[in-house]
């Protein structure tokens, strides 16, 4: 590997941008494909599939055997609401490999006692979220049920290319939420990105079951790269 390529790769990794190193196993020829350039590449189908799965591997092509080393940043889960569901959701998400951040300005909820070993920020989302640099490897879930907290956070998430946005609340709650967000300037095409009611429909009742349904939906979005079936 050329040092210049290694440095360029490390730059992408540090900036939390995905990239693939393509190595021709026959000749040793190597190139770096940044995620933004994957669609333009001659191997774009393979590259895009591998960027979604995050898995490195060997590909046979008419031009020979290539090894694709895939670098995707660890996924993150940003949640508004230090609520009961979040207490179950956060440790489960950590087991799935997510860096978890919970944001809730209500200091009665956001206590280290309720969230051991979880990154917790007791402040308003519109103040905090911009500094978190929400990106394509981030999932966002609005779980407070409180428009004062969830709405600004949703508007921020909608302005970013996070791979998943979900919001807790019934269909009725969501309909009124959509009206509010629209009146604040959000377009219909943007709003359709919100998964609500949040989570796959598995009849979840307890906070832990709701956490499972949310993580199943997030996983489907991450791994299938398409709208999971409700």
């Amino acid at each position: 590997m050329q040092l210049a390529l290694l440095k360029a790769l490390n730059e992408e990794r540090t900036a939390r941008r995905a990239a693939i190193v393509v190595t021709a196993l026959g000749t040793g020829e190597q190139r770096l494909v940044k995620a933004v350039d994957a669609a333009k590449d001659e191997l774009h189908e393979m590259l895009e599939r591998r960027l979604r799965s995050g898995k490195s591997g060997t590909e046979e092509t008419p031009k020979g055997k290539f090894f694709l080393t895939v670098f995707v940043p660890p996924p993150r889960l940003v949640v508004t609401g230090a609520v009961h569901v979040s207490q179950e959701l956060a440790p489960m998400a950590q087991r799935l490999g997510y860096d978890v951040v919970i944001v809730d300005p209500r200091t009665a909820f956001a206590t280290p006692e309720r969230f051991a070993n979880i990154k917790l920020i007791a402040d308003w989302p519109d103040k905090v979220l911009p500094s978190l640099a929400i990106d394509a490897h981030t999932a966002f879930a609005a779980l407070t049920h409180d428009p004062k907290i969830d709405d600004p956070a949703l508007l921020h998430a909608l302005s970013k290319d996070c791979f998943y946005i979900g919001a807790l609340g019934s269909k009725k709650t969501h309909a009124t939420r959509l009206e509010r967000l629209k009146s604040q300037g959000a377009a219909d095409t943007q709003l359709s990105r919100i998964h609500a009611p949040i989570g796959l429909s598995i009849g979840a009742v307890s906070p832990a079951e709701i956490a499972v349904s949310i993580l199943a939906e997030i996983t489907a979005r991450l791994r299938l790269g398409e709208e999971p079936r409700k």
């Binding site: 590997m1 040092l3 290694l6 790769l9 490195s56 591997g57 060997t58």
Partner: protein, 105 residues
């Protein structure tokens, strides 16, 4: 998911003027302890960080890496039960792996 920053180390070692090789698991069969894409970073003195197996074949990969650093040419090496050297280097878990070893130049 959390990976130590082996590629950062590779670049840093190179910047210090050390000779460096990078080994990457390209294929696995059967029970292999480290997934495809796992890295071992080796310097010209035989110092290494990371892993390509559960510690079974690292010694052999380091030897290959020193060879690669010397020749400047990458190579693809395999370890496994089908290989006579498997027992010698101790991949006794019954798995088989291919490792791409390349110089960082």
């Amino acid at each position: 998911m959390q990976q130590e920053n082996l590629l950062g180390t590779a670049a840093a070692w190179r910047a210090e003027g050390r000779k460096v090789a990078l080994a990457t698991v390209t294929e696995t069969w059967g029970s292999a302890p480290r997934p495809v894409g796992s890295n071992l970073v080796i310097d010209g003195e035989g110092n290494f960080l990371g892993s390509v197996s559960g510690g079974c074949v690292e010694g052999a990969v380091v030897a290959e890496a020193l060879d690669v650093i010397e020749s400047g040419k990458p190579k693809l090496v395999s370890f496994g039960v089908a290989d006579e050297t498997a027992w010698e280097v101790g991949l006794s878990c019954g798995g088989k792996i291919s490792v791409y070893v390349e110089p960082v130049t």
